[in-house]
């Protein structure tokens, strides 16, 4: 981790990783989309609405993964004062908010034909909506506080406190009576999805993960540049 503490060295690593991450994202998403939309079969109960799962589920997984990433980065920033940790969390937040929005909206689009309702206040849906608000609150905190050091600290505390929501989301379908179905992939005994649907799902998940890495690196480079702009302006003001 110390290797990444020097922004110049980190930028060199980011520049070499970014094309590969972008390439994996593009290929995985292209292959995944073809499999999801044209190759995988319709479900015997859900019909073709099952194809919504190939974007809804990976987006939901990434929504939780990204918040976990933010919480870990925030802890590293608070405890070890790693210079890039806070910027990594800040960079990840809009991506996570985007994934959460996709999960919520595609879930509604699946729910209307299948459940007969766009929304229900069950534990899973409500806790994911709370996650979306946590993302928005985190982003707003960074923008509301002028001093970057204070903003980083306040945002880090919010990220860590809000992390309790992530296991609540994961286990909500087990702890409460929910309309949302229980886990079909990450559960004891292994996945209960047929390979013809599991493979498109996993390939789309890989594409979303590679997309996250790519955009995170793009945003981190922008944040490092913004920090340098701020430093240059402060030096100019003192001159």
């Amino acid at each position: 981790m110390q290797r990444f503490a020097n922004p110049t060295r980190f930028l060199k690593i980011a520049d070499s990783v970014l094309p590969w991450a972008g390439g994996v994202a593009a290929v995985a998403l292209a292959v995944g989309l073809v499999l999801a939309l044209f190759v995988s079969p319709a479900d015997y109960q859900q019909g073709d609405t099952v194809r919504i799962m190939f974007v809804h589920v990976p987006a939901a997984w990434m929504a939780m993964f990204t918040y976990t990433f933010m919480a870990v980065a925030s802890a590293v920033g608070l405890i070890w004062k790693h210079p890039l940790a806070d910027l990594a969390a800040k960079s990840a937040a809009p991506i996570g908010a985007g994934f959460t929005l996709i999960a919520l909206v595609t879930g509604c689009l699946w729910g209307q034909p299948m459940w007969g309702t766009w929304w229900v206040w069950d534990a899973r849906l409500t806790s994911v909506l709370v996650l979306f608000f946590l993302y928005l609150g985190y982003i707003a905190l960074w923008q509301a506080i002028d001093d970057p050091t204070r903003a980083a600290k306040a945002a880090a505390i919010l990220a860590l406190v809000g992390f309790v929501n992530v296991p609540i989301i994961k286990f909500s379908v087990d702890w409460w009576n929910t309309l949302h179905q229980p886990a079909s992939v990450l559960k004891m005994g292994g996945p209960s999805i047929h390979p013809s649907m599991l493979w498109p799902l996993l390939i789309m998940a890989l594409g979303f993960k590679a997309y996250f890495v790519s955009v995170l690196l793009v945003r981190l480079r922008a944040e490092i540049a913004a920090r340098r702009v701020r430093s240059l302006r402060l030096v100019d003001a003192h001159d």
Binding site: L33, L37, F38, A42, G47, D48, T49, R51, I52, V55, H56, A59, P94, I95, G98, L101, I102, V105, T106, L109, W110, Q112, P113, Y211, S214, V215, V218, R219, R221, A222, A225, A226, R228, V229, L232, R233, D236, D239
Partner: protein, 57 residues
């Protein structure tokens, strides 16, 4: 295929919204990076110009 077994009005918007959000975040991120690097280049150029104009000690 467009009909998606009668569910086309739900399936295609789901993919469209996914694409809009992901492309939008990528585009905004690339734009922010270009803007910050442009500002950095301008500020560095101004500093160099000021140093050239300063009288030698």
């Amino acid at each position: 295929m467009l009909d998606m077994g009668g569910y086309g009005l739900f399936v295609w918007p789901a993919y469209a919204i996914t694409a809009v959000v992901l492309v939008g975040i990528l585009w905004a991120s690339l734009r922010d990076g270009r803007r910050q690097r442009g500002l950095m280049d301008v500020l560095n150029a101004e500093r160099r110009a000021r140093r050239r104009m300063e009288p030698e000690a």
